[in-house]
């Protein structure tokens, strides 16, 4: 480009303006792809995060076009003609240009930092009247627990229930390794750190069911460690679910097997047990594959270990799982214990007994395969 005369200068300025306009338009077009690459905006936070994402996509898109354009232009315009063995012009730099291309990116990142900070403050501020939910990650199941007003028991569920417009404040704890609670539709993610209780908050704005995904490598079943959030349309519909669950927890059935089933679906004093995280069990709708299937387990329990009764096998499997590894599976089942309520994997013996009672009914005809009267003596003998 010949810069030595004023019409040359004018042409250069015009070309720069044209390029600038093209870049801005190009960046804006690229930014329009934002809704295509992000899940539906199911939370109040999502809308703000997506707006920020879009701004960065527009700026980034423009810069990308600038660089690709410069490369393409150079590749065509400055190709050495065949046979031309000469050198290019001895240009070592241009201080003005270098200053400009230092200043502009610096300004861009300052602006992005300020906008990001504003969004951050908005989405992390505490709200009034938050719904408190305790979430737990255990290899490989999520569980959520709610206070039952006036009772010591809590409602435990593998699904997080809330309702549209209700700000949720989550307390997150892990029973084993680090996990991460991620709800893509809500744009929130928070790690669960061993030894700590961490927090997250969000306000759902769409009714529906939204996936929860574990986003911190936690072992073999990490890809399977999924849950959902059910956002009811209003508080009434949430309470319809909640009240039924609370009633079941506060009025456990007398029949031990039914009590065991309730424990397996809704947890006990220590919260939800993580069985569904690893096991398939048709009767309860579980489909995880990290551990062996429990469907029809009572048919097999008596014959699994020669000389060991079905009742003892099922009971010991809860508390000493590595004694009876099924070939093809790794020793990943947590070892439950009944001595210390504050330690991880606490399962009081009475609950273990009820769970065994339920497992005993997993036969082809649904009749219990066990003599439950034998269990108390076996419990003494652990």
């Amino acid at each position: 480009m010949n810069l030595s005369n004023s019409s040359g200068n004018l042409m250069t300025v015009l070309w720069i303006l044209v390029a600038f306009v093209l870049l801005v338009v190009g960046g804006l077009i690229i930014a329009e792809a934002t809704p295509l690459v992000l899940p539906p905006q199911a939370s109040a936070e999502a809308a703000q995060v997506d707006e920020l994402f879009k701004i960065m996509l527009a700026l980034g898109g423009a810069i990308w076009l600038l660089v690709q354009g410069a490369i393409l232009y150079s590749v065509i315009r400055f190709r050495a003609r065949p046979g031309d063995r000469s050198d290019g012009p001895p240009m070592h730099g241009n201080p003005t240009l270098e200053f400009v291309w230092t200043l502009i990116p610096a300004l861009v990142v300052v602006v992005l930092s300020i906008i990001s900070f504003q969004v951050w403050v908005n989405i992390t501020s505490a709200r009034e009247y938050e719904q408190q939910v305790e979430a737990r990650g255990a290899r490989f199941l999520w569980s959520f627990s709610y206070e039952i007003p006036g009772a010591t028991q809590r409602v435990n569920s593998p699904v997080l229930h809330t309702w549209v417009g209700q700000p949720v404040a989550l307390g997150l704890q892990t029973t084993d390794v680090n996990h991460a609670f991620w709800v893509p539709s809500m744009r929130i993610k928070q790690d669960l750190l061993a030894g700590r209780r961490t927090e997250a908050r969000f306000t759902p704005v769409l009714a529906g069911e939204f996936p929860v995904v574990c986003a911190e490598l936690c072992g073999s079943g990490h890809g399977d460690m999924r849950a959902s959030i059910v956002v009811h349309e209003d508080e009434e519909r949430f309470l319809a679910w909640f009240d039924e669950e609370a009633f079941r927890i506060l009025n456990p059935p007398d029949d031990p097997a039914e009590g065991g089933e309730l424990l397996m679906t809704s947890g006990g004093v220590a919260g939800l047990y993580a069985c569904a995280g690893c096991h398939t069990l048709e009767t309860l709708g579980w489909d995880s594959i990290t551990g062996p299937s429990l469907t029809g387990v009572a048919e097999r329990a008596g014959a699994r270990i020669p000389g060991m009764e079905a009742e003892r096998y099922l009971l010991r499997s809860l508390y000493f799982p590595s004694e009876f590894l099924v070939p093809g599976y790794a020793a990943l089942m947590p070892q439950h214990q009944y001595q210390d309520p504050d330690e991880a994997n606490y399962m009081p013996l009475n609950e273990g007994l009820a769970i065994v009672a339920y497992l005993c009914t997993l036969t082809t005809d649904g009749e219990s395969a066990c003599d439950l009267d034998l269990l108390p003596a076996m419990m003494e003998d652990m």
């Binding site: 690459v37 951050w120 990490h222």
Partner: protein, 566 residues
Amino acid sequence: MATITATPGLATRRDGEAAIRLASLLRWTLDHKLIGLQYMASSLFFFVVGGAMAMLIRWELLTPTLDLMADGTQYNALMTMHGSIMIFLWILPMMAGFGNYLVPLMLGAKDMAFPWLNAFAFWLIPPAGVLLVAGWLLGPAEAGWTAYPPLSTLFSLDGQTMWAMALHLLGLSSILGAINFIVTIRNMRPAGMTYWKMPLFVWAVLATAIIQVLATPFLTGGLTLLILDRVAGTSFFDPGSGGDVLLWQNVFWFYSHPAVYIMILPGFGMVSEVLSVHARKPVFGYRAIALSSLSIALVGFTVWAHHLFTSLQPALRIPFMITSMIIAVPTGIKIFSWLGTIWGGKLRFNSAMLFALGFISLFVFGGIGGVMLASVPVDIHLHDTYFVVGHFHFTLFGGSVFLIFAGIYHWFPKMTGRRLDERLGKLHFWMTYIGFFFTFMPQHIAGALGMPRRIAIYDPAFTNINQVISLAAFLLGIASLVLIYNLLRSLQTGERVGGNPWRALTLEWATTSPPPPWNFRGDPVPFDDPYGYGSDEGRAYLDAVDRRFPAPTPEAVEAESGSARS
């Protein structure tokens, strides 16, 4: 003059010209050129191994359920090995190989400052590789290359300990090599070569070495605590006994973020050389590029916690966002300077240049993704998803590996006296660029849409995008085989070249190809401006070099191949 002295590892022909025999790379040698080639050969071996693992990963990910892998642990072990090998046994030592080969030559020196230390640092690598692979067989490391406790301490088998021991050896190798580079560059520049007249590759290696000596000891510390927790009953990372899992995360990333600059900075130096030579133009903004390498090295120590935005205490997230945004600026300066270098030049599109241009094209995409990840609210959504996997493959493969490829095509003639086949080079480039783009660009989309990383079982909604990614990855895998074939074949039958086939001004080209064991006769005088293209003095200097170190005549090549072996 033409004495046939048996210098270890080289078959001397005449006038000090030498040939490379692959078997010679298995011997202990103090010659920095052979050590450089040893680094490169071992790195290329592990590139193929790590690449094969990537192919298995992508095969598994063709479907949302487990098929190739028996269970999640097998998959996690595979991806842990893939990452660990690619970082610690491919990119890091390959960059060290280029540094070892080129820095003394560019400085007109006979060798590095500490030749014995140089050899020792290389020979730590094969045992480390053995330890790493042996660990896989013992009960594999499955916690990713990031090895977060408690998964890596309380829930992993002995392979995790072997992994940590292997990384100890590799970290030691890195530190020793870096000390060597710093001393060599400081003390062994030729008369007249001030810091401001050093080739930019030497600047890059200097900045890299500074990072290596300052950061790697933190990895050593972290690994030591990890090993102790695993074997000695300590509880540095066990909250149940007074430890803290975040301690590992912070110490690990305090090293591992600067580590990514260790992996890219030498490449940045190489691309400055390649672009300048093949555009026949000085590097645009030499001082800015030199200083930006140092500022990246410095600021790179202030950003580490952006790798743990979702586990870091909330009050610290914004400060690390700010530092992470700042570091985009020196990198941007480099990209614009490289564009300024080619703008208005006389571009020659050989394979080295294609990879250099491909690098700029791809790296900027990775850099933009990096700025998006630096923003805390956006990172909350994108952290630990395939968006991050796409991002770091753009910077590490589209960045470091493309630069390594450019360096291979550019310096292979110097190292071996032969050119790589250009048609195969162009095939390699186009297959790699296209395969790369369609492997890693869609990963950004998958991640943003909700696919986490490090999983073999995924939501079936992501099946189509994963199949596209896997097919493109298979193309990429085949492309890399084209390079390996080209390397092996050209060693035998590549076109013979003289000292300076590219007519470049830096000192490594002012001797034979390959150089004799003593590099130069006497003390070479560097040309005043390592990027003085377009000047009459530059032209005259290059003509003189061509007269002194011409390409062998066809008759000479005939005569040699009659008497020479391989």
